[in-house]
């Protein structure tokens, strides 16, 4: 898995140095560990399901200051904090949490920002249950983990609402070299922020008209309000990063044009934007959408505010979403909010294998989404006008584990059945966006069109060209993309110092 030491040699010493400071010792003494263990985890306040399925406002309402402080008290300030090892960017979690307990929120935010440029986002979308919170020592004590994600989000929100504290003026020294970052998703934004801090002149090129990558076009507003995204992006701009939207590298200008324009290093954070289809009959019927199209219409183009905004979203009563990841959960919950009477997930494995964040699955269930496991469509059915009217599904059982280590779904003979649907959303995964990477001569690609890189430096087969995030990993996570960005920034700095 991820090695935190990769980013930070000497991390352990640094953590313990912080921990031995007097204010921390005093804070530990104030409340006994026994007492701390008796405080129950604070539930995230939420919009009630019946209300939230009629709007696109955020489901999670956020902790109050008081709740955050109490939740912070649950943290034992461990000498050997499992949480940090579980975080792909190795945030000094106990220190930031203890700052919350002490009421020093700006210091808490500074601490997080040392290693994570997008805390309001990660606090919301990280799969904490398999990362930081999974490794929280409270779990070993038989308790629920500290709500690290909720606290991270709290700090970032609280300060961005209260003041302009989060704007650090950038100081760019153009003599250090110009860097082109392709793609403004979390990996690109992280490289850009890190290099700008080191004094490089960084330009981020984004194909779409809004920066943010999946954060802007994929993840719905009810999980990530756009003001939050924009304020995080403004923070990165304030470091001196220039973001050029509507600029498709490989089309608007080629990488060699950019080299001629003086860019001496490149980071490809182009993401996994290519939607996968199942290649089954009827998939091009009117009414069958990729999750990317469905979510882009709604999130990037704001179809949920049609006709005030010009882009429409397909209207439907019976919606089927195929897949079991975050993308599928986002699509099915979006369908409910757009007025679907019935919104059903069809997933080919069982509940236990669903890759979506647990919170999303729970929220979907509360909102009335129906889950059908071990089923897969084999054919879409259309009417005489080419409109989707139904689909034929097949039941599966779980067999031997496949290459991914998960049990392979095996079709049950004779188990086919038909359902009526008027909208189907295919959310079975995305592969790396080929638009640019296939055009670059000499760039070594893997089997799925992913850019091959050195896992420590994120260097591609071409000197001066680095890559990370979904372009390298296929569909992964925000925080892994950011971790890649962080490593690439270090390597790019080294590369430019040498040449």
């Amino acid at each position: 898995m991820k090695k935190t030491e990769l980013f930070e040699p000497g991390l352990t010493e640094r953590l313990s140095r912080e921990r031995e400071k007097d204010w921390r010792k005093n804070l530990r003494r104030e409340i006994s560990a026994q007492k701390r263990l008796t405080i129950p985890r604070h539930k995230m306040p939420e919009q009630p399901p019946a209300q939230r399925i009629r709007n696109f406002l955020e489901v999670n309402l956020g902790y109050s200051l008081e709740m955050a402080k109490e939740e912070a008290q649950r943290c034992l300030d461990c000498g050997n904090p499992g949480c940090v090892a579980g975080c792909p960017v190795a945030i000094d979690i106990p220190t930031f949490i203890k700052y919350i307990e002490a009421g020093e929120l700006d210091k808490a935010l500074d601490k997080i920002r040392e290693t994570n440029g997008l805390p309001a986002i990660c606090g919301r979308v990280c799969p904490q249950e398999v990362q930081c919170e999974k490794n929280c020592n409270l779990v070993k004590a038989g308790k629920e983990p500290v709500a690290i994600g909720h606290l991270e989000r709290f700090v970032a929100d609280y300060l961005s609402l209260r003041s302009e504290l989060n704007i650090e003026p950038g100081c760019v020294n153009s003599s250090r070299g110009k860097i082109a970052v392709v793609g403004s998703g979390p990996s690109g934004l992280t490289v850009a922020a890190d290099l700008a801090r080191l004094g490089y002149q960084v330009t981020v090129f984004e194909a779409l008209h809004v920066p943010g990558g999946v954060l802007a076009y994929g993840i719905p507003e009810f999980r990530l309000p756009r003001e939050i995204l924009h304020s995080e992006i403004n923070f990165i701009r304030s470091l001196g990063v220039e973001i050029k939207t509507n600029f498709i590298v490989g089309k608007t200008a080629s990488p060699s044009d950019l080299r001629e324009a003086g860019y001496s290093a490149f980071f490809l954070g182009t993401g996994a934007g290519l939607p996968g289809f199942m290649n089954i009959p009827g998939e091009n019927l009117l009414g069958v959408y990729s999750a990317n199209e469905y979510l882009t219409r709604v999130n990037l183009m704001k179809a949920f505010r049609f006709p005030d905004f010009d882009t429409p979203a397909p209207a439907a009563r019976k919606v089927a979403v195929i897949g079991g990841g975050n993308v599928a959960m986002d699509a099915v919950r979006t369908a409910l909010r757009l007025g679907a009477a019935e919104a059903v997930i069809y997933y080919r494995r069982s509940r236990a294998e669903m890759p979506a964040r647990v919170e999303e699955i729970r929220h979907a269930e509360e909102e009335g989404v129906v889950f059908n496991f071990l089923t897969v469509p084999v054919r879409f059915l259309g009417d005489e006008k080419g409109r989707l009217r139904g689909m034929v599904l097949q039941r599966l059982t779980l067999g031997e584990p496949d290459a991914s280590g998960r049990p392979r779904p095996v079709p049950v003979p004779g188990s086919e059945f038909e359902v009526e649907v008027d909208l189907a959303v295919v959310a079975i995964g995305q592969s790396p966006n080929p638009l640019l990477v296939k055009q670059v001569d000499g760039l070594k690609l893997g089997r799925w069109g992913n850019v091959e890189v050195d896992s420590e430096t994120m260097a591609s087969s071409l000197p001066g060209v680095y890559a990370g995030g979904d372009a390298v990993r296929g569909g992964a996570t925000v925080i892994l993309a950011m971790g890649d960005g962080r490593r690439a920034a270090k390597a790019i700095d080294k590369f430019l110092r040498k040449c």
């Binding site: 194909a207 498709i248 089309k251 939607p275 091009n284 882009t296 219409r297």
Partner: protein, 279 residues
């Protein structure tokens, strides 16, 4: 944001915009398109690049006034700003030595084919340009096109369907007295693309059509633009927009174009009401 240098009405329902977009102006190739966002609430719509001026840093767009987005575009004045223009997108059209090429353009396709005509001509090809329109009053850029072509022909239709015969006569006629005619490229409304393909299919004349399916991003990310050609699914924005007209699954193509018909009407009514209330 892109500044509008000029907005003129060419014929009753077709407009010509000149827009500042220096990077696009220096990389555009014939057959490519841009995604245009009229204003901050606007849709992303694809429009062909009808010409470009590298030194001035401008591109030319020619569009037919149809629905909400194009109506918004038609209303812009010199000096106004478009929310955004991204491109050039799509594969450029092939420009090699074909010998004789027939370009068939209808509505916006007259302008859309202009850069292709010019570059094919520069390569030494002989260009026959067939402009298809409702009547002479709907033909624009004739002089401009004549300058870069060898022959300029027209086909008019009194109503929607009566032009088929003329089109067919002209195209079949050409083939019989111009034996080196090696390919046809068609741009314009879907109906024209289909009709020409059906005509040339009869004589096995290679025909490339510029499909115009619905698009959202235009960069290969959503699949809204998928079309079936020779039994295989393609994304028109990255694999096209030019395809073999004899391989297109036209039935699927026409049905997919209608995906949002009722919403498009609703949007137009909404815009018209808004404009009325502003007056």
């Amino acid at each position: 944001m892109n500044r509008i240098i000029l907005n003129e009405r060419l014929v009753p329902n077709i407009f010509h915009l000149v827009v500042e977009a220096p990077e696009i102006a220096s990389s555009a190739r014939p057959g490519q398109f841009v995604m245009v966002i009229p204003d901050e609430k606007g849709e992303r719509i694809p429009l062909n690049v009808a010409d470009w001026d590298k030194s001035k840093g401008t591109i030319d767009l020619v569009f037919m006034n149809l629905g909400v987005s194009t109506r918004k575009l038609a209303g812009f004045k010199t000096g106004d700003f478009l929310e955004g223009v991204a491109g050039p997108l799509g594969r450029p059209a092939e420009v090699v030595d074909f010998g004789q090429v027939l370009l068939v353009g209808g509505c916006y396709g007259l302008a859309g084919l202009y850069p292709l005509a010019r570059e094919l001509k520069e390569r030494g090809n002989q260009i026959l340009f067939l402009a298809e329109a409702r009547s002479r009053a709907y033909i624009y850029w004739e002089n401009r096109i004549r300058k870069v072509t060898d022959e300029f022909l027209t086909a008019f239709r009194a109503d929607c369907f009566s032009s088929d015969k003329d089109l067919e006569e002209i195209i079949l006629g050409l083939k019989s007295w111009k034996p080196q005619l090696s390919r046809v490229v068609v741009m314009g409304c879907s109906y024209l693309l289909f009709t020409v393909s059906e005509i040339t299919r009869k004589i096995g004349l290679k025909t490339r059509v510029n499909l115009n399916p619905l698009m959202v991003d235009g960069t290969g990310m959503c699949g809204a633009c998928r079309v079936t050609v020779h039994g295989k699914t393609y994304f028109a924005c990255v694999d096209g927009p030019e395809f073999d007209g004899h391989g297109v699954d036209w039935q699927e193509y026409f049905s997919r174009r209608k995906a949002f018909l009722s919403q498009e009407e609703l949007a137009l009514v909404h815009l018209v009401k808004k404009l009325d209330s502003q007056e």
